[in-house]
C-alpha cells in the first residue's frame, strides 16, 4: 500500500523565502537591469553601458577577502586591465545600513579613492535588490556582461579560495582571463566558477 506524505522543508529552508540565487540569471541569459546611486548620489543604470563590456564587483571594505585582493593590489590590477580593454567597472556595495561593515557613501568614496584602482563607478545597494537579482553571495563576487547585455561570467575573482595573499600569484585570475577572452570574441573558458569570500550582509 502506498503511503505518501509530503513534507515541505520550510523548517529547513526558512519560511516563504523566494531565493535570490534561485531567481538569478545563469551565464548566457540577460543580465538584470538596475539603476543605483553612486557614492555622490548620481543614478547609474546598467543600460547606459550597452555596447561595452561591463564588470560588476561586489565589494565590502570590511571583509578580509576584499582586503586580500585590495591589499595586494590584485583587484586594482584587474580593474586597470579591464579599463585598458575598454570595459566599464562597477563596484557595488550591498551591505545593509545596520551592519557593522556599513560605510556611508562619503566613507566608501574615500576608501575607493585611497585604493587607487580604476573603477568607473562605486554604487550603493543598501536595499540589496541588485545583489539579490544577480544572486551575489560573497564579497568579492564577480560578473562580466557583454556588449549585448548578456551575462558571460559569474563567479570568483580567482581559482584559489583562501585568505592567503601568497595564493594570488599561483591562482588563475578568472576575471582577467574572462575579459581577455570576451574582448577577443572567444567564449569564456571558465564561465561559472565558485565565488569565495564573506557573506554579503543583506538587509533582511
Amino acid at each position: 500500500m502506498l503511503r505518501r506524505t509530503l513534507i515541505t522543508s520550510a523548517t529547513l529552508a526558512g519560511i516563504g523565502w523566494t531565493g535570490a540565487s534561485f531567481a538569478a540569471p545563469s551565464v548566457g541569459q540577460k543580465a538584470p537591469e538596475f539603476s543605483l546611486p553612486d557614492t555622490s548620489g548620481k543614478a547609474v543604470s546598467l543600460s547606459a553601458f550597452r555596447g561595452k563590456h561591463v564588470v560588476l564587483e561586489w565589494v565590502n571594505p570590511g571583509c578580509p577577502y576584499v582586503r586580500k585582493h585590495y591589499g595586494s593590489a590584485n583587484m586594482q590590477g584587474t580593474q586597470k586591465e579591464a579599463a585598458a580593454a575598454g570595459a566599464i567597472w562597477l563596484a557595488i556595495n550591498s551591505t545593509e545600513e545596520g551592519s557593522v561593515d556599513y560605510l556611508v557613501p562619503e566613507q566608501l568614496a574615500r576608501w575607493t579613492q585611497t585604493q587607487q584602482g580604476a573603477t568607473t563607478h562605486t554604487l550603493m545597494d543598501v536595499e540589496g535588490s541588485t545583489g539579490k537579482a544577480y544572486g551575489a553571495r560573497t564579497t568579492p563576487h564577480m560578473y562580466i556582461i557583454d556588449p549585448r547585455g548578456m551575462l558571460v561570467y559569474a563567479g570568483g575573482i580567482d581559482s584559489i579560495p583562501s585568505s592567503r595573499v601568497d595564493d594570488i600569484k599561483t591562482a588563475v585570475n578568472y576575471v582577467k582571463q574572462g575579459i581577455r577572452q570576451a574582448v577577443a570574441g572567444q567564449p569564456i573558458s571558465a564561465a561559472t566558477t565558485r565565488p569565495y569570500g564573506c557573506s554579503i550582509k543583506y538587509k533582511t
Binding site: R3, S9, G14, A24, S99, R137, A171, G197, C198
Partner: protein
C-alpha cells in the same frame, strides 16, 4: 613579512583580534608552540585519542576541537553559499600518515537570504592516523610529536579567516584518552555509509535534481530529513526544496543553482535526522544543464593536450569542429592500435600468433587467409566491444574501456579458457579427444575459424590497456555520434591487426621461417608456458577484485577443469567413471566455492601503499588548493602496462626523491573494479581508459603524461613544478 601576518599583528595590537599566531600562545605542552590557540572567536585545541599507546597497527586518532563563541560558526566540507571548509595540514614523523577529516554532521545555518553548512558551539574534527611499520619511536623520548597547521574561517555575519600552529606530544607507551567523550560524540555524529544500491540515484530534471534513496533506517520513515550535499556549488543552498516518503523510499526535489560551477558524475550527499547521518553516493543520471559557455574542464583538457606537445593531438581538445576531431581520432586510433602491439598486455597473444605462423610456415595461401581471418576477428570484437560500451553508457552506466575485465566473472572465464589452451598446447589433451568428432573436426580443419577466434581472444585480453595516442582517441570516441565512435573502434582494431596482416601478405616473412618439423612440436609445448603465465596474471587480477578467497576458489576450479580435461583423454570405462567423478568434483566446487570468485574483496588493501593515498572525488582540488602539487595514477590490476609503470618508473629512486623534494602528494585511483567516480574523472581528462598519469598544480593546467611513463619524462615534469 606577508600581508596576512602584518594584518594579524595589527589586529592583535588593537585588541580586535583578527587571528593570533600560535607562537604567541602557550598551550599545555608549554614549550613555544602548544596544543591550544585562542582567538577572540574560537578556542582551538589539538587533541588525541590513543587508548593503547602508539605503534604499528594501533588505532590513533587526532583532531582539532573548535569551541566557538556564541553566534559564531566555522564550516563543513561543503561550506554552502559562502565560507570555506576548515583545512588541516599535518607534519608527522616517518611512517605516520593522516587520513581525511571524518566530518561530523553539520548544521544548516541561514544568514539572511543565504545559507551555509557549518558548526556552532563545540565541534571536534577527527582524523585517523595510520602508523606504518616504518614508524620508529624517537631515541630520546617516548612520545609521538604531531604538528598541525590549521586554517579556518569563522563567521557570525562578519567573517574572519584565522589560522594556528599546533604541537602535541602523544605518549607512545601509555594510554591517551583524555578526550574520549569528545571523540565518541564526533564519531557518533559522523554519517555512516549507506550500502550502495542501483536504486539510489540522482536524476537531473531541468533546473532541479530529483533524489531517490532506498535503505534508510526504518525509524526515519515519514519524518523530515536534513539534506547536505558534499559537492559544493551545485544546488541553490538557501532555496526552498521538497521531500516526501513513499513507503520506505525517500525522494526529494532540490533546485539547482543558476550559477552552478560543478557538474559531478557522482554526488555524495548526507541525510540526517536527530543527530544521526547516512552518507549516500548518488550516481547522476542525465546531463547537467549547459550554460552557453563551455565548461571549465574543456580548457583544462585543451591545455593539458597542448602541454603534451603533439601538434595533431592538440586538436583533440577542440569542442567545436567535430569532423576535424573525428579524423584526428581515427589517425590516433590507427597509431594507437599499432603501438598496442608493443605494450606488455599483448604478450600472451604474441605467443599464439607466433605459433600460428609456424604452423603454416609452408603455405603462403593459408598465411594470407589466416591474416585476413585474424584481422576480421580483431575488427569484429573491437566493434562489438565498442558497441556494447556505447550502448551501456547511453543506458546510464558509467563505464570505460577495459570494462569487461572489471567483471570478475569474465576474468575467471578467461583464466579457465587460457588454462585449457595451455593444457592443449602442452599436449595433455587434444580437442579431438574431448569434443564430439563432428565438432573436433572443426577446429584443426578450419584454421580460418581458429585464426578468427585468435583475433577475438587478442581483443579480449589485450584491449584493456590503452597505448599512447589511443587514450585520447578513446576519450574522444565515446563523445562522438555512435557511427563515428564505432569507426574509431574499428580503426583501433585495424591498427592492432595490421602487423600480422602485413606479415601474412609478405612471402618473405614465411620464407624466413624454418621448414615444418619436430621443432614445431617443441615450440607448441613451449608456448603452453606463456599461456599459464597469463593464467597466473588473471588469478592475481581476480585476487585484487575478489580477495584471497576468490583467487583460491578460482585456482580450485582451474585444477578441477584440468582434471576433467585429462579424464576425457582416457579410454573405455575409465573415461566414463573418472570423467564422471571429475565432472562431479568440478560441479561441486563451482557450486560450493564459485560464489567467492565474484564476491567483492573486503575493504581496500591498506598499508602496502607506501606514500600513495587513495584517490577520491574532490581530493585533488582540496590538496591543490592547499598549495601542494598532486600526481594521480589512474590504474587497474588488469592493466599490465599500468603494473609495468608502477614497478619501474613509479618505483624509481630518483623519481621518488624528486617527488619527495617537491612535496608532491601521490594519489592512486584504482579502476580494477567498476567505479563511476573514476570513470567520471577520466572523462574530465578526455580519457576513457587506463593508464592515465596526471600532474596537477595550482594555477596551471593539469599535465597529462605518456601512457609509457619514462623516468626522464617524469623527472622533467617534476622539475617544472
Amino acid at each position: 613579512m606577508s600581508v596576512s601576518r602584518l594584518l594579524g599583528l595589527l589586529a592583535l595590537a588593537t585588541a580586535a583580534l583578527s587571528w593570533l599566531p600560535a607562537a604567541a600562545q602557550f598551550g599545555a605542552g608549554g614549550a613555544g608552540v602548544g596544543a591550544v590557540v585562542t582567538t577572540e572567536q574560537v578556542r582551538a585545541e589539538l587533541v588525541a585519542q590513543a587508548p593503547d599507546g602508539v605503534g604499528p597497527g594501533k588505532t590513533v586518532w587526532v583532531g582539532l576541537q573548535l569551541t566557538h563563541k556564541p553566534e559564531w560558526h566555522t564550516y563543513w566540507k561543503n561550506a554552502g553559499d559562502s565560507g570555506l571548509p576548515t583545512q588541516l595540514q599535518w607534519t608527522l614523523p616517518e611512517g605516520v600518515t593522516a587520513g581525511d577529516i571524518e566530518w561530523p554532521l553539520p548544521k544548516k545555518i541561514p544568514i539572511g537570504t543565504l545559507a551555509n553548512y557549518g558548526y556552532e558551539n563545540t565541534v571536534l574534527l577527527p582524523v585517523p592516523l595510520t602508523i606504518g611499520p616504518q614508524f620508529q619511536a624517537p631515541l630520546l623520548s617516548d612520545t609521538l610529536t604531531i604538528k598541525l597547521s590549521a586554517a579556518w574561517l569563522v563567521c557570525k555575519t562578519e567573517c574572519i579567516p584565522e589560522e594556528g600552529q599546533f604541537t602535541l606530544q602523544v605518549p607512545i607507551r601509555s594510554s591517551t584518552a583524555g578526550h574520549a567523550t569528545a571523540f565518541d560524540a564526533a564519531w557518533r555524529s559522523a554519517p555512516t555509509a549507506l550500502a550502495p544500491t542501483p536504486d539510489n540515484r540522482l536524476a537531473i530534471d531541468g533546473q532541479t535534481i530529483r533524489l531517490t534513496v532506498h535503505g534508510l533506517p526504518a525509524g526515519w520513515q515519514g519524518r523530515t530529513l536534513a539534506f547536505f550535499p558534499e559537492t559544493p556549488e551545485v544546488i541553490a543552498t538557501a532555496a526552498d526544496w521538497q521531500q516526501s516518503w513513499d513507503g520506505a523510499v525517500w525522494t526529494a526535489q532540490v533546485p539547482l543553482s543558476p550559477q552552478r560551477s560543478n557538474s559531478p558524475a557522482l554526488m555524495p550527499v548526507v541525510l540526517a535526522l536527530d543527530g544521526q547521518g547516512r552518507r549516500v553516493e548518488m550516481p547522476v543520471l542525465g546531463s547537467w544543464p549547459q550554460a552557453s559557455g563551455p565548461a571549465p574542464e574543456s580548457t583544462a583538457l585543451r591545455a593539458a593536450l597542448d602541454a603534451r606537445g603533439g601538434s595533431g593531438l592538440a586538436q583533440f581538445g577542440a569542442s567545436s569542429g567535430a569532423t576535424l576531431g573525428f579524423w584526428a581520432a581515427l589517425a590516433g586510433a590507427l597509431i594507437g592500435g599499432l603501438i598496442l602491439n608493443l605494450m606488455p598486455c599483448v604478450f600472451p597473444i604474441l605467443a599464439i600468433k607466433v605459433l600460428g605462423f609456424a604452423r603454416h610456415a609452408d603455405d603462403r595461401r593459408a598465411h594470407r587467409i589466416n591474416g585476413i581471418a585474424y584481422t576480421a576477428g580483431v575488427l569484429v570484437s573491437f566493434v562489438a566491444l565498442g558497441a556494447i560500451l556505447l550502448a551501456l553508457r547511453s543506458a546510464g552506466e558509467s563505464l570505460g574501456w577495459g570494462f569487461q575485465l572489471q567483471n570478475p566473472a569474465v576474468v575467471a572465464a578467461l583464466a579457465l579458457l587460457f588454462t585449457l589452451i595451455g593444457l592443449n598446447l602442452a599436449g595433455v589433451f587434444h580437442f579431438a579427444q574431448v569434443v564430439p568428432a563432428s565438432l573436433a573436426g572443426f577446429q584443426p580443419r578450419h584454421p580460418v575459424v581458429d585464426a578468427f577466434f585468435t583475433g577475438v581472444l587478442a581483443v579480449a585480453i589485450a584491449s584493456p590497456c590503452t597505448a599512447p595516442f589511443m587514450g585520447a582517441s578513446l576519450g574522444l570516441a565515446v563523445a562522438l555520434p555512435p557511427l563515428q565512435a564505432i569507426a574509431v573502434f574499428a580503426v583501433l582494431g585495424l591498427g592492432l591487426a595490421l602487423p600480422y596482416l602485413v606479415a601474412s601478405m609478405v612471402p618473405a616473412v614465411a620464407r624466413a621461417l624454418p621448414r615444418p618439423g619436430a621443432w614445431m612440436d617443441s615450440l607448441k609445448k613451449f608456448m603452453a608456458f606463456p599461456m599459464f603465465a597469463t593464467v597466473a596474471w588473471l588469478v592475481w587480477v581476480l585476487g585484487q577484485q575478489s580477495g584471497i578467497d576468490g583467487a583460491g576458489a578460482l585456482l580450485a576450479l582451474l585444477v578441477a577443469v584440468a582434471f576433467v580435461a585429462w579424464t576425457l583423454t582416457l579410454a573405455g570405462r575409465g573415461r566414463i567413471v573418472a570423467g564422471g567423478v571429475a565432472l562431479a568434483v568440478l560441479l561441486g566446487l563451482a557450486w560450493g566455492v564459485g560464489p567467492y570468485v565474484t564476491e567483492p574483496a573486503a575493504v581496500a588493501r591498506q598499508g602496502d601503499n607506501g606514500p600513495w593515498q587513495t584517490w577520491a572525488p574532490g581530493r585533488v582540488d582540496q590538496i591543490v588548493a592547499s598549495g601542494r602539487p598532486v600526481f594521480v595514477d589512474f590504474t587497474a590490476a588488469w592493466c599490465v602496462t599500468c603494473q609495468y609503470n608502477k614497478k619501474t618508473t613509479l618505483s624509481d629512486p630518483a623519481v621518488l626523491a624528486d617527488i619527495a623534494a617537491k612535496q608532491v602528494v601521490l594519489l592512486r585511483a584504482d579502476w580494477t573494479r567498476r567505479d563511476p567516480a573514476i570513470t567520471a574523472a577520466l572523462q574530465q581528462l578526455g580519457r576513457n581508459g587506463v593508464p592515465v598519469y596526471v600532474l596537477y598544480q595550482a594555477g596551471r593546467a593539469p599535465v597529462l603524461m605518456s601512457e609509457i611513463l619514462s623516468v626522464a619524462d617524469m623527472r622533467a615534469a617534476l622539475s617544472r613544478l
